[in-house]
Symmetry: D2
Subunit: 260 residues, 4 copies
């Protein structure tokens, strides 16, 4: 295959799938990996192909030993060199007190959000180093910047992820690999994640109150625009960290200013 490959780990109907489509539209072969929903995966592949793009779908249990590693090897061997990898798995389980956060849930948060990225880098970076180039875009969250109440599992996992992005950058940027830590600071208009967490009724209510014409939810297609830009920054001017939020949302560092 002569197309460059864009691998999306965590390719649901939100940021992952939408970004995959965007890269496919620009000439990449999209490799889509997600844990469940073969049907949704096939639909995504179909949608990309309907736009004359090309894509391959993979069902992947990222928590499973060797799964990510094998996926990388398979793609590198059978499809082509992975030019861009997007790590888009999270383990947000909603607000839970410490007592409600089981050891298992805490460990799973780390396994998905921190360890999975480590394993992806472990498998992929040697390939990229050999080619002297490559991009790893990491979808992250405000929880990587500060730990809110109820976010024991998510924040600890994302905080680890952020530091890992920095250590990867420290080692690999000089070798031509661009690692970006992207802080999504707000609710994304994504049926697979936010929609599932809230349930259909509350999700629709939120979309009507903040989203739709009001742009108060992060739109995946607009996020994908910035992902694409980041993957194409020239190596003389790379971004390592940036935030993304809806214009009407309160940044994580601000408290509401009641008197304005």
């Amino acid at each position: 295959m002569t197309k460059p490959v864009c691998l999306v780990v965590g390719a649901g109907a939100g940021i992952g799938g939408t970004t995959a489509k965007r890269f496919a539209r620009e000439g990449y072969h999209a490799c889509l990996a997600r844990r469940t929903d073969k049907e949704g995966l096939d639909r995504l592949v179909g949608e990309i192909e309907a736009e004359s793009g090309s894509a391959t779908g993979f069902i992947l249990n990222a928590a499973e030993e060797n799964s990510i590693e094998r996926l990388v090897e398979t793609i590198e061997a059978d499809i082509g060199p992975i030019d861009v990898a997007i790590y888009n798995l999270g383990a947000q389980i909603g607000d839970r007190t410490l007592a409600e956060t089981s050891l298992k849930a805490f460990e799973m948060g780390w396994r998905i959000a921190t360890f999975g990225l480590f394993r992806l880098a472990w498998a992929l970076c040697p390939h990229m180093v050999q080619r002297g180039k490559g991009t790893v875009l990491v979808t992250s969250a405000t929880a990587a910047m500060r730990g809110n109440g109820g976010q024991h599992s998510h924040a600890a996992a994302m905080g680890g992820r952020r530091m890992l992005c920095q250590t990867l950058n420290a080692q690999f940027a000089p070798r031509g690999i661009h690692v970006v830590h992207i802080v999504i600071d707000g609710a994304v208009d994504a049926p697979d994640t936010l929609g599932k967490m809230l349930g259909p009724a509350r999700y629709q209510e939120l979309r009507e109150r903040k989203g739709l014409e009001k742009d108060g939810l992060l739109l995946p297609a607009e996020i994908a625009n910035t992902y694409f830009h980041l993957a194409h920054q020239h190596r003389s001017a790379w971004t390592h960290e940036l935030d993304l939020r809806a214009f009407s949302d309160l940044p994580w560092w601000n408290h509401p200013s009641l008197s304005l």
Copy 2:
């Protein structure tokens, strides 16, 4: 005029002028303001016009009372609504001990790097609020994130600038004005600033050692790419802060890792 206007305050031969050219190429009327060098300013305007773009040059002493304010009013009245403003003035004076940093130099640092932005916002934001949209891109520096030895004036001024970007964002983002704090973390291949600070011989030596084919200096044209992207992010997914550095440079938060 039907073209949108892009105002660049601090339009030398580096980030400012190059970004102005980029916006002009994309259909903006570029308003270029700089303190001195009428000839260089005219040359920039000429280069833009030679590419079928349009531009107006202004000699502006930003430290002078009312200067920025008058410039904004003049452009809004005579040229057109300012869609994008790029504040690109700094006051880097090189490393100086506290004893070598005069009260005057310290004040001038603030006057240019912090107060000037405040005055620009003061004059411009009301216009943008009326239109419900606008972008303010602020070129900043690592000194806004941490204060290195010898940077008393520059760091204090840039730290103030960073916080001001956040307070502007807090008030104006919900009104549709996109304020971005752009951390340039490294040396820019710019003859007007770096070149002047180092002198021609050391500048050329640095370019040969790190820049040119090695991409080890930040290239203004590549920075301009990201500026343009930021100015065109959809309001559902705005970036407020990001860093830019050459792939081979040490980020400000890292110490060299001797053993790797």
Copy 3:
């Protein structure tokens, strides 16, 4: 005089005066400087003397040219070497929109909160360098860490102050001068500042709701404990930055977690 001197710039009835008393109780001669209220100043000196301490009061307009510089020289010449300096001036003017923040107010914020500290350091550090030791404790605010809505003047000034503390630390820590940036993250139970900003009725209401037996306001005497500790850290284990807040208050980096 054989007592070490502790200079407090901004010695009102809150953090400044209370800290001065604490140092006086521990054997320091307290030099108290404040802008107005000679009577209150004399009362503070009297209270210190009533506890068998010693103190000198100064009325000081810190914004006035050469005022801080002269104060330092006077104390060094007439009273004794300044061992500890506490810079406790701020310029919080409450929440104001950009339009409500005059150029004059913005400049005064910087002049008091950033430039005054620069001038203090300029005058004092050479003395301390000669002695190979000294402590500069800087009372700062959350506004140094992030810019909230309505805080244009305060945040820009405090952001500059924070970076200045870092550049001072970078130059002077290796010479034995301990500079500490202390982030007061919450309302202080201080009649001179919070009390004046809120007015007596709202202040009393707040004290009853959060403070008094509830410890929901920062108590100056408890803050003073930590100031004293910081000034006596051994140089092998110095703190440069820390936060202080009431246990029941939301840290600046947290948003309320509604569901817990």
Copy 4:
């Protein structure tokens, strides 16, 4: 027992053991837990008793399921209420490239540095909540603030730890539990950790070059002073995060300033 209990998890000859001694000297019963070296542990207990203090030693494999949890229950049941817990375990393995960092090492880093603290909090916080008070002091590292080259395992684990400290603080501070994240930013003069990592010859060379009379290594006894202060801050003025470093060391956020 009527003495308050101070539990130190990770009580070697450096910060842990020294802090335990300090608390014992101030009237606490010290519970010392460490993974190996029963002899060293007994010696520590003996030294505390020789100063008329009281202490109990525990050999604890913190990575083992249920070990920390059982320790907490044992102490609470048999010795007394844990007033102060100091989590002092780390998993610094020195600089290693990604290829040299095994999955196992990366997981172990997390298991010790992040998960262990989570488990301690899980077991201990309910007890403290019932009493409406308690202190958890967490020894952390610069790696929690930024990820240096070669620190994949350590930084990811410490970054997770830092966020966990914040989520614990968010939930438990209002319930009277003081959680502190202490950033040790430099080499500690500790034979058990630094000494083992460097080997006796390099350790002694470093001590002679930077430490001893030069105070260029963090002295455990001085660190313990600040730990003790933190544990006794009044709840109206708590610190959540602070740094500690030797006066002559470069803070993590600074690059050397060559020209000063």
